[in-house]
Amino acid sequence: MAHTSHSHSQTNLAQTTDAHAQAHHVIEVRTYVLIYIALMLFLAATVAASFMPLGAFHLPVAMTIALIKAVLIVLFFMHVYYSAPLTWITAVGSLLWVGLLLAFLLSDYLARGWLHILGK
């Protein structure tokens, strides 16, 4: 009994210190500047890619670069990397939502011509 309560209080303590670290993590100025430089490079990359003869790959390349930039901003500028699991789930959940919306929407629009239904 004593053992159980002891380990319980230890878990509590661990969680509190953890939460404390999450709430007060101060990111170095250097890290912010490095992320900013990376964002600038990706911005240059997305413009450069629009000049390249990529054909059908223009959109996927542009969206991949945009996604990387968004992830960098969310993880470091918005501190999600250092945040509680609940914040992680919320942030990832919103991305999942957009993915679901576009996937089901496109599966409808792109597949409309596949079946030749009489009278359509």
Binding site: A19, A23, H24, I27, L43, I65, A84, T87, L101
Partner: protein
């Protein structure tokens, strides 16, 4: 009146704990999560527009490409740069609030608002040029000779003759590109206006020591909103300006 239990002395370096929270960390997490839930609803809002864009672009890739070629790509590049820089200054403002540098918070917030205003000014001049060229959808929308030629070339039937119905649809979808452009960038600009107002109000509140504990939680939550608006633009820029 000011007993120790109801003291609102703000400049203590630690945030006041509201009575319905267990501790400061829970209070901080709750505020953060509240803003994140709002941002998720914002993601849903913008993804509706992105979905409309996806469908129309898939229906008329040529019309969208033509529309995109009329956007001021380098102006958009400059604006993206300005907005990313404003995110950096906002991140610095949040950092200053964490380390208790009050002057730093105010300075960085004002810089952020300034960069945001530059963005809006550039955007307004872009709008003016586009409206002057007759790209504002509606009664004044005008398809120039050159644009009509490009759209005709994209509207040929299997035998190489002009398909009038297809040409008419393409002209409509060329206009639809500008409907989506003005709506998406317009809604984004509205978010910027709200953000700049909030940032300036916060600069004043921090200056007059309105918040306890350097307003760490409050400034961080404001930062989340600002960065989100930046993330939206990161997607809008290639989608609207850089179609090749």
């Amino acid at each position: 009146m000011h007993t120790s239990s109801t003291s609102t002395a703000p400049d203590e370096g630690t945030q006041l704990l509201l009575s319905h929270f267990d501790d400061l960390d829970q209070q901080h997490l709750t505020s953060n999560l509240g803003m994140w839930f709002f941002l998720v609803s914002e993601v849903m809002f913008f993804s509706g527009l992105i979905a409309a864009y996806t469908v129309y672009r898939a229906l008329a890739p040529d019309a969208f490409k033509l529309g995109s070629h009329h956007m001021a790509m380098w102006v958009g590049f400059f604006n993206t740069l300005v907005l990313l820089t404003s995110s950096l200054t906002m991140a610095f403002a949040v950092r200053c609030s964490q380390v208790g540098d009050r002057r730093g918070i105010v300075r960085n917030l004002i810089l952020t608002a300034l960069l945001g205003t530059i963005f809006l000014g550039v955007k307004a001049s872009e709008y003016k040029t586009e409206i002057d060229h007759g790209y504002l959808p509606g009664r004044s929308f005008h398809v120039s000779e050159h644009d009509a030629e490009v759209l005709k070339a994209a509207s040929l039937d299997a035998n190489g003759n002009l398909d009038e119905a297809k040409f008419s649809r393409n002209k409509g979808q060329f206009q639809m590109m500008f409907v989506l452009y003005f709506f998406m960038t317009g809604v984004h600009a509205f978010h910027m206006i709200v953000g700049i107002a909030a940032v300036l109000i916060f600069a004043v509140l921090i200056r007059i020591k309105w918040f306890s504990g350097f307003g760490t939680t409050q400034v961080e939550v404001l930062g989340l909103y600002w960065h989100f608006v930046d993330v939206v633009w990161v997607f809008l820029y290639p989608l609207l300006y850089l179609i090749e």
